[in-house]
């Protein structure tokens, strides 16, 4: 009770400080007036009486201060006083304040952005109830989760450790809600128990349940994602019960998911959800019983309460053993691990985690460099203010009080800087959330900052304030007021290495690390963009469509494909048109096991290779710009009636035939026993990712291995102007109901280059901030050392020193420190870049260009930063200077 009253009075003192101040002031004034009245009565004149009264009263300010202390509001009100005093001091040196605030804003902003993304990707990935017990089942030998539907059902029904197991795959369909042109949408094909297993309740209508499934194509229902409902159906609440066409099959809209649920794969926001059992309607094939077809993208569920990960894995593995025994033809012994579903287990999870952790570290380094920078600025400032400090000490201020004042200033700056930085980062994160980096996919990451981000930013601001505020402590504690007042504030020119020097070296080193890493990353990306693709994206436009989505049957597909190729090839300016069911570095077309011709037991362990497979039209190689090293391309005669042929790449040739030379004319076998003759060898390319090791690839004739997915590569002569509208019109002229997508091949490659681009972009930003910090740091140090020694420089010049000698005296030390810091930073940066090479393709620190670039960059930055102080040193007018004192 007493405590409460105390706090209330404390708060009252703080809030009504002016009131308390006025009261004390008034009371003391009244005292002095009363005393003066008495003195006047004793015969003094009024002015003399008042003077006398004031003298008798004693130290007005001191007693007022002590009165505050006595009133109990002392701590808080002195903080208030400190804050006001600090603000006054900061206003007096706007240059210093702006530099400090900006530096911190950048450093804290960078940290807040990186943490905001980290927070969403890794700390709070999924908006489902109890995400902590949700696990995806991943294969133990590779970071993937593919299963066949029957295998999924067996794992779901035979395990004892999961509450329920849900599964989903992704597919694309043309959605027709009664408009002329169908919209291309991405859908999740989800098991009937999907929403119930995750605990997702609809905001409108209902979701589907396991009880809706009664065999293939029995549940033509679609649940819309909130954002799609919002953008496409304008939040129409009467949508429930309406029928829409998906690939020309009627589906009933039964509900809408909550706004923050975007499916269970981070980045990938499907526009709707349909039951898995309806696959045939969309994908054209009933593979619900095909144990060999990996149709399920991911399987996941909540662990039962009290079940450990190890128990779950053991349980799954016993199911795997059972599967291997029961279906020996399809699978051997299967083993599993658990992973987080949001980033597709470890497939994306591991690199993303590694990269984000690395980025967070770099951001931390930036903050540290900024603190070092501000620390030395503060130390310099404290040295400049040594006379003020000495005076305050001399008239009775305690050292504690002075330190508190300095800390208040530091924390105030860091809070202002933090607020500005946070503001910037909120803007940036908002923009990132709205950003759709890849047009083709529904990829969007909601990284709006939450309370965590604000708390972290605030914490960082306060900690960094305390950190750099602590730098001048020793300086203040050692101040001898008598010495300073007597000798003036001219610092001794010490040869000793001071804390300031050390801080500068550390800061330069950190900045050099940042600059080097970002150069390594940028150079890596530049290299990855040139060469080695195995195709030529220049002068090529990509038009893709799925004939199945357009309602074409298997029999109609080849003729329609031929018609499309011919129509596009007839456009003026078009050189050639190739068609494929998938593209290297694009949408995966699939893979197939390949056996040598002599193999008779066609099971997985005996396979010679597992190449990426593509079904392509005869002109594909020319249109794609893929060179043939030997043999021939396909012709329109390589059809169902001709013997099966293939064009393979050198890596596959080496794996199957041992060498490239004797591959043409050789035979190999497919898992179903088909003998395939090799008719040509293409150049080696990149297929799944830029960073991959040489991978095997096999091209089949689209007439012999038909596919409905159709990517048409339109190669045009370099002088042709924009062909995209013409291509659109042509395709629409052939079939207005066909959903398609037209884009330059380069744009399309963005998908694959996206991670590397993002990495380079963010590292580039870090590097730029590092460079800026280096400039301000060196500038601050150089400017300070010049201003400190202006008098000495003036005397030197008066005695006839040459310009070089003056510069040497003024900046020699700064330059030496700079060189030392750079060397240390470069070394560290090269070490750090080894880590980068895991993320950024072809990022190698042992690159002379990078080394030279980093050295040059740091030297330029140093030159830039010392330029103004050097000019200042050279323009010293000795006469003016000497007259000043």
């Amino acid at each position: 009770m007493k405590l409460l009253a105390y706090f209330r009075s404390l708060a009252a003192k703080f809030l009504r400080r002016p009131q308390a101040e006025d009261d004390i002031e008034e009371e003391m004034r009244a005292h002095v007036q009363n005393r003066a009245d008495d003195l006047e009565r004793s015969g003094l004149d009024r002015a003399e009486a008042e003077r006398q009264a004031h003298i008798e009263f004693g130290g007005h300010g001191r007693y007022k201060e002590e009165s505050y202390k006595a009133l109990g509001g002392n701590f808080i009100s002195t903080v208030g006083q400190d804050v006001r005093y600090s603000l006054r001091m900061l206003r007096k040196s706007p240059g210093f304040t702006a530099t400090a605030v900006l530096t911190l804003a950048m450093a804290i902003g960078a940290n807040a952005v990186v943490f905001g993304v980290l927070n969403v990707l890794i700390l709070h990935p999924l908006h489902v109830p109890h995400p902590e017990s949700l696990y995806a089942i991943q294969h133990s030998n590779e970071p993937s989760s593919y299963e066949s539907y029957p295998d999924y059902l067996d794992i779901r029904d035979h395990n004892h450790t999961f509450e329920d197991l849900a599964a989903y795959g992704a597919t694309m369909a043309g959605l027709d809600a009664g408009e002329k042109n169908p919209t291309r949408v991405w859908l999740e094909e989800a098991s009937g128990n999907y929403f119930d297993a995750l605990g997702i309740e609809p905001v409108l209508g209902r979701v589907f349940h396991a009880s809706d499934e009664h065999g293939a194509n029995s549940a033509p229902y679609i649940v819309l994602a909130y954002s799609f409902w919002h953008s496409h159906f304008d939040d129409d609440r009467n949508i429930v019960g309406r029928t829409v066409l998906l690939d020309k099959h009627p589906f009933t809209v039964i509900g809408v998911t909550p706004p923050d649920f975007h499916g269970t794969l981070m980045f990938f926001n499907p526009q709707g959800f349909i039951p898995f059992v309806d696959r045939e309607l969309i994908d054209g094939e009933n593979d619900l019983n095909a144990r060999g077809k990996l149709t399920v993208f991911m399987t996941m569920g909540h662990l039962k309460p009290g079940v450990s990960q190890a128990q779950a894995v053991a349980d799954l593995n016993s199911v795997g053993t059972w599967l291997g025994k029961t279906y020996p033809k399809d699978a051997g012994q299967r083993t599993f691990t658990l992973a987080r579903p949001s980033l597709y287990g470890d497939y994306l999870g591991r690199p993303v985690k590694a990269f984000m952790t690395g980025l967070m570290l770099l951001a931390g380094l930036i903050l540290l460099a900024a603190c070092a920078n501000l620390g030395s600025l503060f130390a310099a400032r404290a040295a400049d203010r040594s006379r003020e400090v000495a005076l305050r000490l001399a008239i009775g201020a305690s050292r504690l009080r002075i330190l508190r004042q300095l800390f208040t200033e530091a924390v105030l700056i860091s809070l202002i800087g933090g607020a500005v930085g946070l503001w910037g980062s909120v803007l940036l994160l908002g923009a990132l959330s709205r950003w759709q980096p890849i047009q083709r996919y529904p990829i969007q990451v909601d990284v709006h900052p939450d309370a965590n981000v604000y708390v972290v930013a605030l914490l960082l601001a306060v900690v960094s304030g305390l950190l750099f505020g602590a730098v001048p402590i020793r300086q203040v504690l050692r101040t001898d007021p008598y010495e300073v007042v007597k000798a003036g504030s001219t610092a001794r020119v010490g040869r000793r290495l001071t804390v300031r020097d050390l801080l500068l070296v550390v800061q330069i080193a950190l900045c050099a690390v940042l600059v080097t890493s970002s150069l390594v990353a940028v150079r890596g990306l530049a290299r990855s963009l040139h060469g080695g693709f195995g195709f030529e994206p220049e002068n090529a436009i990509l038009a893709d469509t799925d004939l199945l989505s357009g309602g074409y049957s298997r029999q109609q597909t080849p003729s329609m494909q031929k018609r499309m190729i011919d129509a596009l090839a007839a456009l003026p300016g078009v050189e050639s048109v190739g068609l494929a069911n998938g593209l290297p570095l694009g949408v995966d077309a699939g893979d197939s096991l390949v056996f040598t011709d002599k193999t008779t037991d066609l099971r997985q362990p005996n396979a010679a290779a597992d190449p990426n497979t593509y079904s392509v039209s005869p002109e594909y190689f020319h249109a794609a710009g893929t060179a043939l090293l030997a043999g021939r391309a396909f012709t329109w005669h390589d059809d169902q009636n001709a013997p099966r042929v293939a064009v393979i790449n050198p890596e596959l040739a080496r794996r199957v035939f041992g060498s490239v030379d004797n591959a043409v004319g050789g035979y190999f076998k497919l898992p179903d026993g088909t003998r395939v003759r090799v008719v040509g060898i293409t150049e080696q390319g990149k297929y799944a990712s830029l960073a991959e090791a040489p991978a095997p690839a096999m091209f089949s004739s689209i007439l012999q291995a038909p596919a409905s997915q159709s990517y048409m590569i339109v190669r045009y002569t370099s002088e042709s102007q924009n062909l995209v509208p013409a291509i659109r019109n042509t395709l629409r002229g052939l079939d207005s109901g066909l959903p398609f997508y037209v884009e330059s091949w380069y744009k399309d490659l963005d998908t694959n280059l996206f991670p590397a681009r993002m990495a380079t972009f963010s590292l580039g930003i870090m590097g730029a901030i590092g460079a800026m910090l280096a400039v301000t740091g060196i500038f601050g140090m150089a400017a300070y050392s010049v201003s400190k020694r202006l008098k000495e420089l003036g005397i030197r010049m008066a005695l006839g020193a040459q310009r070089m000698e003056v510069l040497q005296a003024a900046l020699g030390r700064a330059v030496k420190l700079l060189a030392f810091g750079c060397a240390a930073g470069l070394l560290l940066g090269l070490l750090a870049s080894r880590v980068l090479s895991f993320i950024v393709y072809q990022a190698t620190p042992r690159d002379p260009l990078v080394l030279a670039g980093a050295v040059l960059a740091m030297a330029l930055l140093g030159l830039l930063a010392t330029w103004i102080p050097a000019q200042q040193a050279l323009s010293v007018d000795p006469v003016m200077l000497l007259r000043e004192e």
């Binding site: 009371e27 003391m28 009244a30 009363n34 009263f57 004693g58 001191r62 009165s67 006595a70």
Partner: protein, 113 residues
Amino acid sequence: MSDQAQILPGTLDLLILKAVSLGPLHGYGVLLRIGQISGQALLIEQGALYPALFRLVRQGLLKASWGTSENNRRAKFYELTAAGRRRLREELAGWNRLAAAMGSALAAEPEEV
């Protein structure tokens, strides 16, 4: 002036309590009252009065209220609270014990030892 005695540390509070116990006073009045009852023998730094007054108010020994002084100035008047009276009694008893002990100790003659 030279015949004035510097007050002992810690005794200012007691003096203030005593002065105020004789009737409500404003700050300057406290000073005058102390001068009056001590026969102008004690030297008090005038400003030092205020931190002490505020301290006593905060301890709940004095209560303050704004009023008008005899020469029509707005002034804050202090009076003892119940706790203040109790404290004054305790402090007086303590002081008397101390003074008696000091007096007898300092008055000791060689033959009494």
